[in-house]
Amino acid sequence: MSMPSWAPKPWVLFAFAGALVLLALVPLVNSDAYWHNLFTLTFLSITAALAWNWLGGLLGQVSFGHAAMVGVGGFVAARLQVSSHVPMLVAWGVGGVIAGLYALVWGHPTLRLRGPYFSIATIGVGEATRLICTYWSWLTGGSSGMSIPVHPALKFQLYWYGLGLAALALIASFALRRSPLGLSLLAIKSDVDAAGDVGVSSTRLQDLVLFLSGMTMGICGGFYGSFFSFIEPGDLFGFERSISYVLMGVIGGIGTIAGPALGAIVFIVLQQSLIAHYSQLYLGLYGLFLLLVILFEPLGLVGLALRVMKKPIEEQP
């Protein structure tokens, strides 16, 4: 045994590093604002979809309320920058930690529910958070939202911040899936009682992964605010946003390592190419996608790729 079984294959490392370098060079070659925005937004969605998948895929607890943490992180970061002039990265970090803690507040009790019961609870949490935060105008500016002054040069650089975030989230997803923690989460997903019988402390591990997921969503929220310079609760906390993470995860391949990243790319590309002309149609198209995936390929795009390459399903990339 020269390499441990959980180490990445060399070609995966090369492909990852190559893609990272190429993507990092794009803004230097092409400074077109449309592409610049599209790529940055995609990086952000990739990060969020991967973080959603830690809970939805590894633990099998499908959250329909993850926008709550994007909102909490986003508005805490924005408020810190606007009212206290906290540096951007520090504000993102604080927003992330508070979002993670907020996830624990509602998640510690609700993670005792499993499957659809948990999902239904998260819908309630998401909507309640949206309403409360819309009402709390001292934090969020109410339904008219708030502006965050961002220097144009910094805004251009956010491309690389986003790329870095997405890369980190992908590395974290890989490490998590291959680590003992990831295996334990999958064991809990399979059978929570049997996991306890071999020493897995499900409560603690569930809380840990919930915090990590919530924190990453919060950092995405902070990033979102700085990138658009304007946020409002109806958008950041919106149910559609929560649904979009579920869609990215399911389309890409729920529980796989890189699936949600693929799902996020497909989602954003479809959204951008359809929303201008067929603003109603694109939601219907996602519905159709969802049906096809659930009916024919439960592992989403990753499952489809494995089938094309004729690889056994258990070797998830």
Partner: protein, 242 residues
Amino acid sequence: MIRAEGLVKRYGGLRAVDGVTFKLEPGQILGLIGPNGAGKSTCFAMLAGSTPPTEGRVFLGDEELTGLPAFRAARAGVVRTHQIVRPFAHLTLLENCTVAAVQCAKLGHKGADTFAREMLRFAGLDARRNDLPAALTLAGRKRLEMARALSCAPKVLLLDEVIAGVNPAEAQEMGTLILRARDERKVSIVMTEHVMPAVMRLCEHVVVLDAGKLIASGKPKEVVQEPAVIAAYLGKARANAG
């Protein structure tokens, strides 16, 4: 090794287990037998921490385990298998065992991986370590339950009907595996079993439950002669006639 003192489990008005006391000696294989509904599985659940006893106490050596959650009892060294097998369907056989070795035996990832492979080899499943549990036969999955429990490096193994339901040849092999676990892995074993020939072959000592109460205890050959035991299994009239 493990000591149950006056265990009682009440579900509403029903006493599923009613004042059961027994002791497992180091290196012993103890059979917990009785007709359906006698309270064997409930006893197991209380020993393993799956459910807390209403009254009574459980000890492992000097350490009291009463009321500890299952994961704590497992880490302390009392690990159970399940009558209806419960493999982790999303994990390969090796990963099934690695989780146990990491969380229960507290090994690092690499050490756990090695130990898990050793336990799979012990249970005769090494060749299939990268398969998912769904690819195994029932006998294979019962072996996996054993391998996963042994990956916890337990002091006491609680085997819930690991032989029932497999064919005679597989039952014979499973019996041998249990004996090897005792001798090579140095575990003490409590087992419930419906297959009486297996109980006769494997157990040095049996405890018989009926309707939640302990009705007999002793060497298997002697216990099965006792009128109370025959009555519990076959009914009173037959016992009187015999």
